[in-house]
Amino acid sequence: MLAGEEVIEQMWGVSLDRLYESAEGQRILSCIQCGTCAGACPYGEHMLYPPRRIITMLKAGLIEEVFDSDSLFKCVNCYTCMTKCPREIKLTEILLPLVKEQSAVRLEEMPAELQKAIENTYRYGNSYGESARKRAAWIDTIDVPIRILAKDPTPVDILWFVECDLSYHPRGQDAARATALLFHLLDLDFAILGPEERCAGDCGRLSWEPGLAEALVDYNLSIFEKYRFNRIVTNDPHALDAFKYRYPMFEFKYKTTATVPELHRHLDRLAPMLSRKLDYLVTYHDSCCLGRHNGFYDEPRALLEAIPGVRLVEMEHTRENSICCGGGGGGMWLDTWYKQQDIERLSDRRLREVIATGADVLAVACPYEVSRFEDAVKLAGYEDRIIVRDITELLVEALGGH
């Protein structure tokens, strides 16, 4: 794996027509056509042009035909092809977003749901189309003191970037409340941006609408500049990706981590607080961005194992082989489009693996996953067999006295 700075160096300014001028473009020429990428892709079987064929077409000068297909609308930015590539070609980071952008431009009609999400994000700074002023409304629903920087701009250690789903989605807010309580009990020095925060411009939107992503980067950077903080912590692994890999191209220099590894750092203090036994058989779903792209496989498991009574069981595909929930790469807003293409949603496919483990609880660490898997559970009629919980929710449930 390349070091972060090296990746950024190679991604900056790469466009399709200048692809071969970059080191990363040169690397594409080294493709040995082994087909590992296409075979590993969760939607590869539904693509006319899976990654391997895209490279063939690119080399043959026939890339326009790829743009005219809807193959890359089925790419969920799960980093599987890139992680598996024996030549270390940065498919998910470089080639596929460039192709996606061109495919979207040529599409006769954007799927309505995706278009609405993009428009909402442009207008309101969140895909829900909710008012920015309501972004911190959830903090009134808990007793934990939460500092908003605009009201008290004194320097702070952690800027907690809450992100859209935790701010607006009722199930996301459950995780926001749980996270706030955990940070508070661990005595972390944290504050949020509240109404000043806007969507980080996650990996999905970065690929479909680079212009929108740049506008969001500019905006968020201008807000970051107003305050003094040491580092950023976010619950959303997509935001982590944005801050770690995209924002640095725009001179963003803050250290960023996700909530799960942050909590894991304090496990020695957190573990004694977990006094309530939870007699659950838990299976953990590795988030693509947290796991495959950033390598946090052990931290979420260690947090779950710290809960008394919890027993962990693994699914058939786990860690770097985990199957995406289908929400990345814009998939969050293509559910009906997939349905119309007669393609099974990845969350439905993944749920079968969950059920096969016999677990009582599916633990997740990405805000997309709670609603996606709860939907899948409902559709499959497994409401009585399995519940879906964010790791932070399970930790709070185990707090006992608090």
């Binding site: 749901e113 989605h169 009722p170 559910d335 349905k339 609603s371 939907d375 409902k378 559709l379």
Partner: protein, 325 residues
């Protein structure tokens, strides 16, 4: 002040659009109150027979040419701008429709006259036409007074009642030559593509009987359809029902389906996931029936019933039947 209003008639496939009558009705009312002339302008090809429906106008100017058979922006701009320049009416009413949006701005720039968009009301005060326009999607209203010269007003569909403009009788007919300049036309009408005859449009239904997982089986959807019929509404659903292929995707309400705003939304066995609520929270009246008192649907419902939908549906239908008889 004696008014002088031109109404640009809109027609498609031999039928006058309601928009035409909506504008004529309002213009007629102003002319009756203040005196003056309402002139309908009908451009097209073989459309003379439509004149007999335009009785609300005092006069009709008919312009016929093969190039005007179907709407295309340039030929229409060409004939109508020439006419307005020559006759100089006080106000020209154009629909805020696909056709009118193409036409109005081009007329205004060609003639160098003011244009008022998104108009929802019109009155005459002293020596001026006072036009009320919507700003910011209706959050703010703007009043503009047109005191001299000609102005173009783009009227929002539904601002006035079509019935007021539907009067039989042929106004005084004047046919003028088109005087087109086809050498300047860079756009032409190719063909008219009709949308496929599809399912009902749930966004237009005044009453929606919406079913969720609580309906249990595909066969039970017939019960909801009976109830919808008794209420004079249509059946919609949450996503799981469409995922099961029990209803087509055109019936789906929510984030990945339609956003609806009916007068009544009856949510039957819908738990109210945020993705669903996003598409129906703005309904005028929401009534939810669910066996689970903690179902989130009750937080957006105006009325909630904690009960089995299979008890409520037949009971409701029975009472509705009694009312009708």
């Amino acid at each position: 002040m004696s008014i002088s209003i031109f109404v640009i008639a809109e027609h498609l496939e031999g039928t006058l659009a309601d928009m035409t009558f909506e504008m004529l009705g309002k213009a007629r009312q102003l002319a009756d109150e203040h005196g003056g002339m309402v002139t309908a302008v009908l451009a097209g090809y073989n459309v003379a027979q439509l004149a007999e429906q335009l009785g609300a106008a005092d006069a009709l100017i008919l312009i016929e040419d093969e190039l005007l058979a179907e709407f295309a922006p340039q030929p229409y701009q060409d004939v109508i701008s020439g006419l307005i320049r020559e006759r100089a009416p006080g106000l020209v009413m154009v629909g805020s429709t696909s056709m009118g949006l193409d036409l109005a701005a081009a007329l205004a720039t060609t003639l160098n006259v003011p244009m008022l968009s998104s108009c929802i009301d019109l009155s005459v005060e002293d020596d001026a036409y006072v036009v009320t326009s919507q700003l910011y999607g209706g959050k703010i209203m703007m009043e503009t007074a047109v005191t001299a010269g000609t102005a173009i007003a783009q009227i929002l569909p539904g601002a006035f009642r079509a019935e007021d403009g539907q009067r039989a009788g042929t106004p005084t007919l004047e046919e003028i030559p088109p005087g087109l300049h086809p050498e300047n036309f860079r756009m032409r009408f190719e063909n008219f593509i009709k949308p496929e005859a599809g399912d009902i449009d749930i966004t237009q239904a005044p009453i929606l009987v919406s079913v969720g997982r609580g309906i249990q089986t595909q066969e039970n959807i017939a019960l909801a359809e009976e109830l919808a019929e008794a209420l004079g509404g249509s059946v919609s659903s949450s996503r799981p029902i469409v995922d099961q292929d029990w209803l087509p995707v055109t019936r789906q309400v929510g984030k990945s389906g339609m956003s609806v705003k009916p007068r009544l939304y009856l949510a039957l066995g819908i738990s109210g996931a945020p993705e669903h609520v996003e598409g129906m929270k703005n309904a005028d009246l929401i009534v939810a029936v669910n066996t689970d008192p903690d179902a989130p649907i009750f937080s957006v419902a105006h009325y909630g019933v904690v009960a089995d939908i299979f008890d409520v549906m037949p009971a409701l239908e029975e009472r509705l039947g009694e009312r009708v008889s």
